[in-house]
Amino acid sequence: MAKITFITPDNESVTLEAEQGSVMELAVSNNIAGIDGDCGGVCSCATCHVHVAPEDVAKVGAASEIEQDMLELDDNANEYSRLCCQIEISEQLDGVTLTVAG
């Protein structure tokens, strides 16, 4: 079980718990504003962009090359950017904070 906190574009903090699946699926099923997940999680649409809290980067891990290529062309991307369809939920993620890039 992992507790994951989303900070929405309206600065609302929402903490959710899950055991499996992708972080995007968790966000979409709980209507987290700004996470659309249009492509269903295959890294095609970049509508699940989050900024990982700097202290949580090691827990979440780095983006793959294909994901980096997507993020490179996103105007809101920075060194903490991830597409959360590519982040699998595990206990390792417990306590991380993700800010919706919107």
């Binding site: 249009d38 492509c39 269903g40 295959v42 095609s44 294909i66 062309l73």
Partner: protein
């Protein structure tokens, strides 16, 4: 077992040059073929613009048959974003459960009908009907309107011997004009009425702007959806095991839709007008010339996709550009994805097998590239579960 194969005619040119120039009514187009370059060019809207003369970014160019600017498609930022904000919530309605339930009824009834027939021509009798009836949901218009759209046939802009036919296009434009006047006189809760009452930069949208949105909605989602649906039927006819896979793994329906859309790439490419002397893949792209973003080629890029010419319904990472990329990604993608998701689900539930009798392929002629994009006709028999 090859009628559902869609070869990649761009492979060699993509690997050797990365671009290839074709002519189009004496306004040449340099096609960009690799995925990364296609995405970069799509992203650089200042250098590769959409807001050129109305109709020019479409290939073949529609400058001689259309004056109305398609919105938000032929507008660049910052106005593009303001237009998009007006229309986007409406085009996200396919995510609502009630919309999906109605779409399931439409598609389910159509499948029930074709199972009862001995022989079905998929393009006219299935895909066109499905696309037209589903469009009544997107527009929130009476279901009976779909009969009018079906009567237009599969091609709104094309006749048998011409890729561009102004008289056929005028049928659509005149129809939209009439609908806008009707909605202005007697507003309902359909898309025409909603657009006429929409605020844009502190004023209401004009009738010409509403017409621009409606032309985009009709034209952008017609041949593309018809091809995607027809090609999907051809694919499952030749891969019945894939239909059972969807039935047994419904959680992978979304991935399967993305993969089929990547493989079929219903829209081959879309143009941009170069605003300043530039370089694309070490080739000069002069100001006021045209490039195109070749989604179909990018989606077979072997440097990105493992086994790009194979359909892998459970492909996990699939950064395709079948719905375009960046600011101008497809406004109707939410609707199209729902159509295909429900089509796959309903086919898996209701259909045991599909047998192809004969077909006529639709091959696009881009001079040095001959691309199969769909079918002119596909005769099949559907057998129910």
């Amino acid at each position: 077992m090859n009628r559902s194969e869609f070869p990649d005619p761009f492979e060699q040119a993509r690997q050797t040059d990365g671009v290839s120039t074709i002519d189009d009514q004496n306004d040449p187009v340099t096609m960009v073929l690799g995925l990364k370059n296609v995405r970069k060019c799509a992203h650089q809207w200042q250098k590769f613009q959409s807001g050129a003369e109305a109709g020019r970014i479409v290939v073949p160019s529609e400058v001689n048959i259309r004056d109305t600017r398609q919105i938000p498609f032929e507008v660049d930022p910052p106005d593009h974003g303001d237009y998009r904000a007006v229309v986007e919530p409406w085009f996200k309605r396919p995510l609502e459960p009630a919309y999906q339930a109605q779409l399931s009824d439409i598609i389910g009834s159509l499948i029930d009908d074709v199972i009862q027939q001995d022989r079905v021509e998929v393009v006219e009798e299935f895909a066109l009907c499905l696309q037209s009836r589903a469009l009544t949901l997107l527009l929130n218009t009476p279901f009976a309107e779909s009969d009018t759209w079906i009567s237009w046939g599969t091609h709104v802009f094309r006749s048998e011997d011409s890729a561009l036919d102004a008289s056929k296009a005028n049928i659509l434009y005149d129809y939209i004009d009439q609908q806008i006047e009707r909605a202005a006189a007697n507003p309902t809760d359909d898309l025409y009425s909603v657009l006429l009452n929409s605020d844009f930069q502190g004023r209401k949208l004009t009738k010409e702007e509403v017409k621009g949105v409606m032309i985009l909605t009709f034209a952008g989602g017609r041949d593309t959806v018809i091809n995607a649906v027809t090609n999907t039927i051809a694919y499952f006819a030749e891969h019945p095991e894939s239909l059972r896979y969807i039935q047994q793994h419904p959680e992978n329906t979304g991935k399967a839709v993305e993969e089929l859309v990547r493989y079929f790439s219903p829209l081959t490419h879309m143009g941009r007008v170069v605003t300043e002397d530039s370089q694309v893949c070490q080739h000069a792209a002069k100001a006021d010339s045209r490039i195109s973003l070749c989604w179909a080629s990018a989606n077979r890029d072997e440097t990105v996709f493992d086994s790009p010419n194979e359909v892998k319904l459970d492909r996990k990472v699939n950064p395709h550009v079948a719905f375009g990329f960046s600011h101008h990604n497809c406004l109707g993608a939410t609707h199209a994805r729902q159509i295909l998701q429900i089509l796959l689900t309903q086919l898996a539930a209701k259909v045991a097998r599909i047998d192809i009798h004969d077909c006529q392929e639709n091959i696009e002629d881009w001079q040095q590239f001959q691309r199969k994009v769909g079918f002119h006709s596909l005769n099949v028999t559907f057998t129910g579960n």
